[in-house]
Amino acid sequence: MDMLWIVPVLPLAGFLILCVTEGKLPKVVVACIGAGSVGLSAVVATLVGWEFVASGSTSYSQVLWTWMVVGDFDVSVSLYLDYLALVMVGVITGVGFLIHLYATGYMWEEEGYSRFFAYMNLFVFAMLLLVLGDSLLLLFLGWEGVGLCSYLLIGFFHKDPENGYAARKAFVVTRVGDTALILGLFLLFRELGTLDIQQSLEGARTAWPEGSTMNTAIALLLLGGAIGKSAQAPLQTWLPDAMAGPTPVSALIHAATMVTAGVYLIARMQDLYLLSETATWCVAVVGLVTLFIASFTALMQSDIKRVLAFSTMSQIGYMFFALGVGAWSAAIFHLMTHAFFKALLFLASGSVILALHHEQDMFKMGGLWRKLPIPFWSMFIGSAALVALPLTSGFVSKDAILLTAAHSESFGMTFWAFAAGAAFMTSLYTVRMMYLTFFGETKTEPHDKSRANMWLPLLVLSALSIGGGWLGFTVLATLFGDKGVHFELHLKEFVAIATMCIPLLGVLVGYLIFATNVVDRKKISDSPFGKSVGRFWFVGWGFDWIYDTLVVKPFRWFARVNKSDAVDFVFRFTTLVARIFHNLLTVSQNGRLRWYALTMFSGLLFVLIVVALI
């Protein structure tokens, strides 16, 4: 376990090497360094994890050095490993490595190959810091680090200004959440005097009674940060635009790891939420609302990556929902399975996109299932996991969430019904996506360019999408047993069966709507009501419009009105005074030596008079 520090250091080393060589290395070497550092990190993480599980302890912390000492406030750079962190580290390094491997092929013909892997490695490092950091300060460092990498990678194809715009949008919107987060940290530090995670949780347990205002405020502020990072309502608008980045980036950052950081944060600060019913309720509602909005929006998208983006949003909504209803381990479990199948979906769609020469519009695809067998079957398996068909990993995790929700006393069946409805919608849009992409008539001829390094990750992730659930569930349930909720199967029969059947029903309905002519789609979408609703869903329930009207436009108006900057007058006055004195003194600076001598002696006389008078 002493090797824990090596896990984050390896990607950092990769980043530094790629950084200082300025892209002068040959591509093969770049690929080896970029993917290899994360791969080695995954190996080390496996060893450490194995040792950790074998040791039977519940946590292990490694103090590296003291970061800063201010008075009696000291922050040490230390790593903290428990099962939650272990799951996250496994996902980051494991899935991360597969995505890196895939990217070595996907990005082969792009400019800035080395730069890409430098950013990716930096991202992995920052993400590992986020999940392994023992103090909230270190967590925040990683939190901002991943935000930075997200920004850099969304705008990776920087020659198109649209991408830069998307990157800025992502950065600014998440910044709103980050502000809430840092306020929460300030408040926490002021109240408890520490930013060490374990100490602050301990302090919260002893210092605050259940439902105290301060606790709720801090929990809600932290939730604000989580919302921004995880693209939950109402700060979800950046994620669809973030799809401007290369597809491996979407897979790694905007599906598997970074966007789940919010889930991790809440799970990490679990005790704060356990003490506050309001905060927990908020978490659940945020998740549910996002889940709902996103799944309807996904139904109307034409860009395959945007469908997946909204799907990611809704799946993270599930995780928040799970956290809110108390299904802590189920949430983390869903995080893990989601990382598998969503990464798979993204990578498979990336292969499709690459084969179609960067065509992302689903309406221009179709009939690809024979021509692109590996992407098709990967996508098929990923979709099955996404809609939670039985026997897939998604089924296990989503079922766990829904059943816990149904059993939860404070939330009950209403929440369950909403979540189940959203699951139905998930099936619908997934079927639509699969049908439009792979069936029907061929509209664009594909050129399969994938090599072994691209289909190998697809195979592994497919296997994990199916088997990962069973493998993980047994492990996780025991590991989280002491903290999470037990899944005893004394369920209401109806709920259990309904939960299992809803996805199947959704798939059936979807099949009827999209693949057959049983329902006349044209008629619905062309009717005035259908049109307006479709439009409304397409733009993501108008959140962008709301922000544009409420924030961007007033800000622009204000900026235009205040072009001469009223505040600046104060400072301009200072410069004015300085300038007047400057001009006065300039007159005296006339270069005439005798004038200088005269002033000098006058000064002497003045000083002598003053001295004589005193």
Partner: protein, 106 residues
Amino acid sequence: MIDGAGAIPLEHVIWFAITLFLIGVVGILIRRNVIFILLSLELMMNAAAVVFIAAGAFHDQADGQVMFMFILALAAAEVAVALGLVVQLSRRFKTLDIDAVSEMTG
């Protein structure tokens, strides 16, 4: 010739030094010719030297004369550099008027 009883009041020496110094000041201020300005500077330095020597004599110490040595060295170095400047000045501006080089305005 040197009879100890015929001593000189320190105060008078200082009056003399002040007068000499002020003559130097006036000289600097009224003349435009660089040579005269340098000359006035020499007068001022000598006034300082008088005070040093008088103080050294009053305290019966050699320090005053050591300071005079330093003044001497300073004057020598100063005159060497300043006369070099004077030569350059007359070469470039064809004049010794100090106001001709007032280009260093702020």
